[in-house]
Symmetry: C2
Subunit: 352 residues, 2 copies
Amino acid sequence: MKGMTDTQNGADAARPSRVTVKDIAREAGVSIATVSRAISNDPGIAADTRRRVLQKATDMGYSPNLFARGLITRKSGIVAVFANNIINPFYPEVMVNLTRALQDRQMHTLLFTSDGDEQVERALPTLRQLNPDVAVVLAATMTSGALDNFAESRTPVILFNRYVDGAAASSVCCDNFEAGRMVAHRLAASGHRRLAFIEGLATASTNADRRRGFTRGCAEAGLAPPAVHAGGDFTYETGYTGVQALIARTGAIDAVFCANDIIAIGAMDAARGSLGLSIPDDLSVIGFDDIAMASWPSHDLTTVRQPMNAMIDRVMSEIGRIRDSATAPPEKHFLPGRLMVRGSARLNEERT
Amino acid sequence: MKGMTDTQNGADAARPSRVTVKDIAREAGVSIATVSRAISNDPGIAADTRRRVLQKATDMGYSPNLFARGLITRKSGIVAVFANNIINPFYPEVMVNLTRALQDRQMHTLLFTSDGDEQVERALPTLRQLNPDVAVVLAATMTSGALDNFAESRTPVILFNRYVDGAAASSVCCDNFEAGRMVAHRLAASGHRRLAFIEGLATASTNADRRRGFTRGCAEAGLAPPAVHAGGDFTYETGYTGVQALIARTGAIDAVFCANDIIAIGAMDAARGSLGLSIPDDLSVIGFDDIAMASWPSHDLTTVRQPMNAMIDRVMSEIGRIRDSATAPPEKHFLPGRLMVRGSARLNEERT
DNA sequence: ATGAAAGCGCTAACAA
DNA sequence: TTGTTAGCGCTTTCAT
């Protein structure tokens, strides 16, 4: 690849600097406009010329300068991804899979951290500087104030696993409410009577919806409202101390549904360790996300799997929709989760 | 912020499109060249004019268009980060911390996935298109062939936790060899006699160095060479099946050192579960990385902590060095790991 | 110390 | 169908 010098001109073979449209135009004996047309698949060009120009471009190892292009088109091909909550392995995985999907479509991922609104705000100048076509927010928390900032920078926003009601932002979410409801019903149908919920971050809509759905499900099944360990965060410690606090406060419980897998694993460890409970005989534990760890034999955690790939696909089509028309109204998508039945919860067969 | 319209001209107050140097020049009554000088801290400008221009720029909410700037300066302020190996939570954390550090310095993280060389190769056109100032490779594996591709795209490369001998790339690594050696000595000094090692990916230099250091340490301590479970990957399953295979093949062992924490956790689960061993009484287990999970009570894993923040700092200074002089020769940096003593290994006090 | 003007590499009118 | 030309927003000579 490096050794071949089969291009006719020996003149500038030694100058390895960037190949530009101008170079191709010269080599192919056409104008730079024609080169541009060939590259951008413009309909108004002779199929033959196009082929010839494209061939030359390939031969010469051309790749367009996106800065120059972006300067004119005002499209960057860049997607800004905001990530925090890196403690939960679910999100890095989303990030990487999303990046892969973007890469496949010749788009680019610009990564931002956003632990706290001030980080988001600090990123905004950059947003204007690099002009991403769209921002994807992978974050448990994001105040609507921070969202306004995006609006001000005129970048369309897609929220992943979060929605904000009045906001001009699309959302792609797991149907957290429905999943919580379903968990309550499954537990009730399997004979559990005293249910509990361990919260993650109270302000996260994922957390709130799972809790609300679970509470609703309990009511529908004729059970008492679940005991709730409130106001934690999405960490192991929350689960660990949460289950201890719940049992200290409310006495025995049959089952605990946790706002995510990390919390659930913490809860299991405390239940088995310091509380000496047997799982699932004394206590059923159910988590949310289905991270890799959930299926490890040490915990064998029953959990709600988020349809990650479907969610990412949906994000991609939202991105397409937004690129096609700048004025596309925001849409909210909710995709169903699925219960992965494993050993940490005593569940009957699902009746159909 | 949105309500204030204190700029003198009511004319285009309604046009919220981008503020450019031209706008500032007009408002400040200077030429665009002067504006540019003010912004880029050019010495040849009157301190007074500069202040005035900068003030106007701030008032008008100006932020420079990096595309236009990059077109001329050939510096993008972009750092390409290649990540795979997302199974190991160590790397997402590096990724986010690195991004934070870059953000603080007004630089930008462009994320690429690179599971396999072909992904790297597919990313190369983009590399040329967006012209990152430097590429950081956070990857357990990267063939030197893939590295040549970088060279061809004229992007300086910094390898994180990996080095390639002849390659024109800087490296920032934990001193994996030394850490492996130290682990062997600590185990030997605590009375362990029959040591074993569970490999991750054999082709990863992290893995190879940890193994070589460990083997060397065994020899220095007068122990037999460690039994090695070879040719796995950096997964829980490798640890789980690895420890079973080791014991089936070699009989009892005192201690097992694992190529990373995830493997170690798998090994612990198998040892305690299917093998019915007690840890650390029957078997000491030591991992590598010190991921969050390692300190959870369920595993309480003794492990070598990588000096993540120091490593990231070093990457940042390498980036600075490269930006300052394009011809800066590549450097290799090795930073010491530190043993985090927890409950999974029977270790005596360190003798000093 | 400042301004005028050229041009980075590309696309998008407008002509031909 | 193709070429000419005018910028996108910025930095950077070269004058002044």
